[in-house]
């Protein structure tokens, strides 16, 4: 995976190619070597026979032996293998740093006074300093941390992309719904205009015939036959009820047309309002407007099936990101609509309490089972079939409310319905509400959207 991009720092880089000693050299010789400048940095001398490490003698243990009384006289000529540590700490050159460090820490008796031996295919390659190992370890850890940080920020941006795509998905659905919604008024508006055009042509022809008749009547040179023919034409027009009926209906059709155009502009305005505020981060708004906006956008899914009951109290203006809260409300409303199988009620209640704006959204849908309820705000948790839900809707809702310093909770009873409760901090300054007196709540009952 991405670890490949960071080359693993191996033990090989730590090798100090110190010349090893044989097991047969004398204690006196070892004493000379320890004081030799070439071995100044070395804590331990590797003892190697035929290329294979067989022991180690550290300065510390050497001094222990050599400085004993009469030891120089008694042991000076004796070979080192009698005094060396017989199980030297071996580390293979291709071992991973972390593994090697663990191995060293576990097996070295006095880590700060000894070195370890590095082998290549079992043969002596050099010695390694514990301090170097520590340094390399630290370096690697720092790199790991960087990597973790990078992974974290990647994760974060992909999460933001997901949030955005969930928003686009739900908006896309809504836009499609609204586009369809527009088709109905557009249908009759367009048709009425076409009918009007047709009528206009007929009326023009009619006026033409009348005018010609009047011209003929005023013109003394026009023959009786010609006038009779024109009279006949006028009579035909008068007998034709369709033009008359068209004219009679036109007033109504124009009213319908204006109504339809009004509907279309309202729908378009809703769309605009809904997404307008993407640019502006926060604004002071009346939450009832956000709720209405979301209800309008979600009309498509609520229509005919869900009775919406608004029980709005007096609310102070809230500083928030309206487009995000629109998304929250739309999500809750469409979930409610989906939870309701045939017909049901969606009750939206708002009130102001303890310096907080309180909103409850309750449906009479099929409810959520307790084991699902506890996971409902988890990202990617969904009970909808594959392809129908991203499983992000409520997770994002939760996140948005949290970012607003608020809280969202849920309670549900299977078969009875679900209720979401949102609390948002709001300084109790000016109370703005949909027309109600301060403190009083007004009930608005709407039959069907």
């Amino acid at each position: 995976m991405s670890r490949e991009s960071n080359p693993v720092v191996g033990i090989a880089t730590l090798i100090k190619p110190i010349k090893s000693i044989t097991p047969h050299i004398s204690l006196d010789n070892v004493a000379d070597l320890f004081s030799d400048i070439a071995y100044a940095d070395v804590l331990s001398l590797p003892v190697v026979e035929n290329g294979i490490p067989v022991g180690v003698i550290s300065r510390y243990s050497f001094i222990d032996v050599y400085l004993k009384k009469y030891s120089r006289e008694l042991n000076g000529k004796r070979p080192i293998h009698l005094f060396m540590g017989k199980s030297p700490l071996l580390v293979a050159h291709d071992q991973q740093l972390a593994d090697a460090a663990q191995h060293v820490a576990r097996n070295m008796k006095f880590p700060l006074t000894e070195d370890f031996i590095i082998t290549e295919n079992g043969r002596y390659a050099g010695i390694g300093f514990v301090v170097d190992l520590l340094k390399a370890m630290e370096l690697q850890m720092r790199e790991n941390t960087d990597e973790l940080n990078q992974a974290y920020s990647r994760l974060k941006s992909s999460q933001m992309a997901l949030v955005q795509s969930e928003k686009m998905a739900s908006l896309g659905q809504m836009v499609a719904g609204i586009a369809h919604e527009i088709n109905t008024p557009l249908g009759y508006v367009q048709n009425n205009v076409a009918v009007g055009q047709e009528m206009f042509t007929q009326v023009e022809a009619m006026i033409d015939v009348y005018e010609k008749l009047i011209d003929s009547l005023l013109d003394e040179y026009v023959s009786e036959e010609q006038i009779a023919a024109q009279m006949q034409q006028v009579a035909e027009f008068r007998a034709n009820n369709s033009t008359r009926e068209m004219i009679g209906s036109m007033q109504g059709l124009i009213d319908d047309t204006l109504y339809g155009v009004g509907q279309i502009s309202e729908l378009v305005l809703n769309l605009k309002n809904f997404s307008r505020l993407d640019a502006v981060a926060t604004e002071t708004v009346d939450l009832h407007e956000c709720i209405e906006s979301a209800l309008n956008i979600g009309r498509n899914v609520l229509k005919h099936r869900v009775e919406v009951i608004r029980d709005f109290g007096a609310l102070p203006a809230v500083t928030c990101s309206p487009s995000q809260l629109n998304q929250v409300f739309l999500n809750l409303f469409t979930n409610a609509a989906q939870a309701i199988d045939v017909n049901g009620r969606l009750t939206i209640r708002t009130w102001h309490e303890n310096g907080e704006v309180q909103i409850s959204v309750a449906d009479t849908g099929k409810g959520i089972s307790p084991e699902h309820l506890s996971r409902i705000f988890d990202p990617f948790f969904t009970t909808k079939p594959v392809g129908e839900g991203t499983g992000l809707g409520l997770a994002i809702t939760h996140q948005i409310i949290q970012q607003h310093g608020g809280e969202i909770t849920v309670e549900s009873a299977t078969g009875a319905g679900t209720r979401f409760h949102i609390r948002l901090p709001a300084p109790s300054s000016v109370l703005t509400t949909g027309g109600a007196a301060i403190g009083a709540s007004h009930h608005q009952h709407e039959e069907v959207l």
Binding site: N183, T184, V195, V448
Partner: protein, 308 residues
């Protein structure tokens, strides 16, 4: 001569008022916002054409048209909707067996034309109902030729197993093979996937229906696209649309239904007109269809001559 009756159903009154203006001169116009009232009118009066909305509060349009099919089979059914969702369009084929699936906003001339055509067909159907209500059902013993157009043989095998001795089943695994079979033999039923080898082969179904309206088509596909389906309704008058994977049970039920329909059509050929198709719109399909039609005309226009 009495005017044909057209029944308009939409939950938006303004749509009804508006549409009425197109038809009041040539038709006896009945209209209602209530699907139940519509059913009552269908039962009590002779309705030539019903034009219904899809999304309505008490009943979906496809459901209303399904009931219309039973209540008044001679009535021509048209759906006029602003919502082109897949589910609704599938239901309008399989349940409503609609003559046309029209979208809001509509083109005035198109709607007028479609309704006029439907009214003429319905008038013929009503007349046939009266004259030949006791036609003798014959030709039961005749074998039907069934063409299965699918990249995979599984569908052909399934169809063969269901129909057994009642039909001869030919499997065409590519476009060219399908065209050849259709050009050389008198196929009664086509069971087709609309994508073969990655190509959209809808044009074959559309062309065949133009050439021989008696041919029935079942589309069996995993390719779900509403606008393409709407085209298949209007331009190929497919009789069933079954999303893949389809269970053997459902396939069997639909095949039985269509075989039954083929018998009916043999006995009363005037019913063929009920599945008249609209011209192909897409320029590329038009071209493909044109050359395939040429092939059909060359090889099939000489009836029975191919035998010798």
């Amino acid at each position: 001569m009495t005017k044909p009756t057209i029944l308009l159903v939409d939950d938006e009154e303004r749509i009804l008022r508006s549409l009425r203006m197109l038809f009041f001169t040539g038709y006896n116009v009945r209209m209602t916002t209530d699907a139940h009232e519509a059913i009552r009118i269908l039962r009590d009066e002779q309705v030539h054409v019903i034009v219904s909305d899809q999304r309505m509060p008490v009943m979906q349009g496809s459901e209303l048209l399904r009931i219309a099919r039973e209540t008044s089979p001679a009535t021509m059914r048209i759906l006029l909707t602003g919502y082109s969702d897949l589910e609704a369009s599938i239901a309008s084929v399989n349940e409503g067996e609609v003559f046309r699936y029209l979208l809001k906003p509509w083109a005035v001339s198109e709607v007028k034309e479609v309704v006029a055509q439907a009214a003429a067909i319905a008038t013929a159907s009503f007349a046939a109902q009266q004259s030949s209500s006791n036609a003798i059902a014959e030709t039961r013993m005749q074998k039907f030729l069934v063409l299965v157009m699918d990249n995979e043989q599984a569908t052909a095998i399934a169809v063969e197993e269901i129909l057994q001795h009642r039909a001869e089943v030919i499997w065409a695994q590519d476009e060219r093979h399908a065209q050849e079979v259709l050009a050389r033999q008198d196929v009664s039923l086509v069971v087709a996937d609309i994508t073969m080898g990655g190509n959209n082969v809808s044009y074959i179904l559309k062309t065949v229906k133009q050439f021989n309206p008696q041919t029935q088509t079942i589309v069996l596909t995993s390719f779900n696209d509403t606008s393409r389906l709407i085209e298949l309704i209007n331009q190929a008058q497919i009789i069933r649309y079954l999303p893949k994977p389809v269970s053997n049970n459902i396939l069997a039920r639909n095949l039985e239904f269509v075989i039954e329909r083929l018998h009916t059509l043999r006995n009363s050929p005037e019913l063929q007109n009920r599945q008249s198709v609209q011209a192909i719109q897409d320029p590329q399909e038009k071209q493909l269809s044109g050359s395939f039609m040429g092939m059909l005309n060359r090889l099939r226009a000489r009836p029975a001559a191919t035998q010798s």
